[in-house]
Amino acid sequence: MEFVGIAAGKVVSTSAVFLILTIVGLAVARRISTCVLLFSMQSVIITAQVAATAYLENSREAWVVAGLVFTFKVLGIPYAFFWLVERLKSPRDVKASTTPAQSVFVVVVMVFISYAAVRSYVFGIRVPEDALAAAVALILTGAFLMVSRKKALMQMLGLLVLENGIFLAALTTTFGMPLVIEMGVLFDVVVGLLLMGIFTFRIRDTFEHLDVSRLRRLRG
């Protein structure tokens, strides 16, 4: 059992590196399906973190949360995304408004900003600096994906990455919120995605494309 404890500790401390790798991956990915896979991998890392926390803190609630995260974020939502991509029959590139090199640059700057931002707080509240910085970096990257990718599906994905970041921030600072609240939040996220999915069909049927930057009838 000693070994499992050490492994759990290592998961918590090293996962930040892998998370930042997925962020860079998201910045360079050109196809929606690649991004979905990256998101799924990101969620695997987060599940591992929740599981490690659950083991170290010996908390039953956290095991339930780990199960939920795995079911929804690793399997359910990515599967739904692949189904959507298939059904919408729209071209599969993400329609980035920045080149991959620019995106990587922006993302790297964001990682720096994240470290700088959490620095003043980590000493006061005694949390692992890397994990919190990775959480903030995920939030920023999610927001960046939403504004720089024109496909409606990518906005949904950006939102998910952002939400992953917030979830991670809660996990690293307070070992997550109470289970009921955590479930409510997950429920809202899933329903929100469902509605957005329905809206993508409506957008496609009304405008015959999925490029949200071309939705600009309403202004001023």
Partner: protein, 483 residues
């Protein structure tokens, strides 16, 4: 137990309404559910008045809750009665029939009542996000290009905004846990309030949390620059929904902000939260005031006016003091009434003229005198002229600003009010005066629609002259929570 009813009656009502395939039956059921809901809210408000605040693990109610619940009951009753007349000209689509409309409206109502009754800040967030989800289809109800675009923008912008509020909630939770509260009670409002009064929280974390909360819930309130969803959603939604968005939803978001403002002020003093609220409020009224001048679409103009009035309420809360808070509370109610009246009038304009473009509507005074009358009464009320009630609340906030010698804010406030006065009346009078267009069909004005507009108009006038005793009790009890 008292609080379960007002929360779940709308949810049951929504389920019931989905079973009503006939439009007339749906109308009747919707009104009946509304009646029952008003009774339930009335009962809850009475119990709070009688026995003081009701505390539960997830639900609670105090004077402030009562005040906002009364607002919800009043405006939703008006909107639903109006909707029974309005829905007659809505075509029957697969998801755009009367029963879907009512069911979604009740779902929306459920979430908003939930926001007001939440005892737990996590639940508050969940309910707030649910308001977006419940109303997204209502915004996109007509399924036209504009409606789909507005619906998409609404759901994306609000969900992202609200995500920041979730982050803020987590930071607040962190502050509470580090301040010695147990995990289970660290999101409970009453516990937090007690702990905040004893200065248990790390001020840095509280500040960080409040900034994120303000940005997050501020998106729903419609503060500039997070307001971009608001004019689109208000303009493209069916009229009863526009009225509910503007007159209930924005208030509920403001309610959430006020709850955090109370906590933050107790924990770190009023300075920080008030300065931020004053900044966002002033910025919002200035930008919205300027944008009102250049609008072409009637409902968009009304939407920007909502941004302006939310700014005014934020200024009232931000100034604090007895008159500022009283003015802010009174203004939430007055603005709701006036804005609902104006949106109802706008719905009627769209129905009779087939457009909301203000430059295409002329001579309404001759062709549709009743609609013109409604718009004039609503317009004069919303720009804050006496004897209408908005004058009273705006005057209270303004005098608080000058009492505290905040001349800059008072000056900007007055300047924006006069700008809006000019802009609003210019746009309205151009539609009302002039020769009427050549071939006007007989003006349409359903009896139900007219009845609610009369109620709203009389209410505006009456509250401007005299605040009824029961209402002032309600106000006083809400004020005790705020101070």
């Amino acid at each position: 137990m008292v609080l379960i009813w007002p929360l779940f009656i709308p949810l049951l009502g929504a389920a019931l309404l989905l079973l009503c395939r006939d439009r007339r039956v749906a109308d009747a059921v919707a009104l009946a559910v509304c009646g029952v809901e008003i009774l339930a809210i009335g009962n809850a408000v009475w119990q709070v008045h009688r026995w003081g605040s009701i505390e539960g693990r997830y639900l609670r109610a105090d004077g402030l809750t009562s005040f906002f619940l009364v607002n919800i009951a009043f405006i939703s009753a008006l909107s639903l009665v109006y909707a029974t007349g309005y829905l007659r000209h809505v075509g029957e689509g697969r998801f755009s029939s009367a029963r879907w409309f009512y069911a979604l409206v009740y779902l929306f109502l459920f979430t908003m009542v939930g926001v007001c009754l939440s005892a737990n800040l996590g639940l508050l967030w969940i309910m707030m996000e649910a308001t977006t989800l419940a109303s997204a289809f209502l915004v996109g109800f007509y399924n036209t290009e504009g409606a789909v675009e507005a619906g998409w923008k609404y759901i994306v912008v609000c969900t992202v905004g609200i995500a920041f509020a979730l982050f803020g909630t987590i930071v607040f939770y962190l502050a509470a846990v580090k301040g010695g509260l147990s995990h289970a009670s660290a999101l409970n409002w009453t516990t937090l309030l007690a702990a905040a009064s004893q200065k248990q929280f790390d001020p840095n974390l509280v500040r960080l949390a409040f900034v994120f909360i303000l940005v997050g819930y501020g998106t729903k309130v419609g503060f500039v620059p997070m307001h971009s969803w608001l004019p689109d959603a208000h303009a493209e939604a069916p009229t009863p929904v526009s009225a509910m968005l503007s007159a209930i939803l924005l208030n509920c978001a403001m309610y959430a902000l006020i709850r955090y403002e109370i906590l933050a002020s107790r924990a770190i003093g009023t300075e920080f939260a008030h300065t931020l609220l004053l900044f966002f409020g002033t910025f919002s009224i200035v930008v919205a005031g300027l944008l009102i001048l250049v609008q072409r679409n009637l409902k968009r103009m009304l939407a920007y006016s909502s941004v302006e009035h939310m700014g005014i309420i934020a200024i009232g809360v931000g100034l604090g003091g007895p008159l500022g808070l009283l003015g802010a509370l009174l203004h939430t109610f007055n603005h709701s009434t006036a804005k609902a009246l104006l949106f109802f009038g706008a719905g009627n304009v769209r129905h009779n003229f087939g457009t909301l473009r203000m430059d295409r509507v002329r001579g309404m005074a001759r062709s549709n005198p009743r609609t013109a009358g409604v718009l004039i009464v609503g317009g004069l009320a919303i720009v804050g002229l006496p004897p209408f009630s908005l004058f009273v609340s705006e005057f209270a906030i303004l005098s608080e600003a000058f009492t505290q010698s905040r001349y800059l804010i008072g000056g900007v406030f007055l300047l924006v009010l006069s700008l809006v006065f000019g802009g609003f009346l210019y746009h309205l009078l151009r539609m009302i005066c002039g020769a009427s267009q050549e071939t006007q069909p007989k003006p349409h004005f359903a009896r139900a629609e007219f009845a609610v507009m009369v109620v709203a108009g009389v209410c505006l006038l009456y509250f401007g002259v005299h605040i009824p005793a029961a209402f002032s009790v309600l106000l006083r009890e809400a004020m005790t929570v705020l101070q």
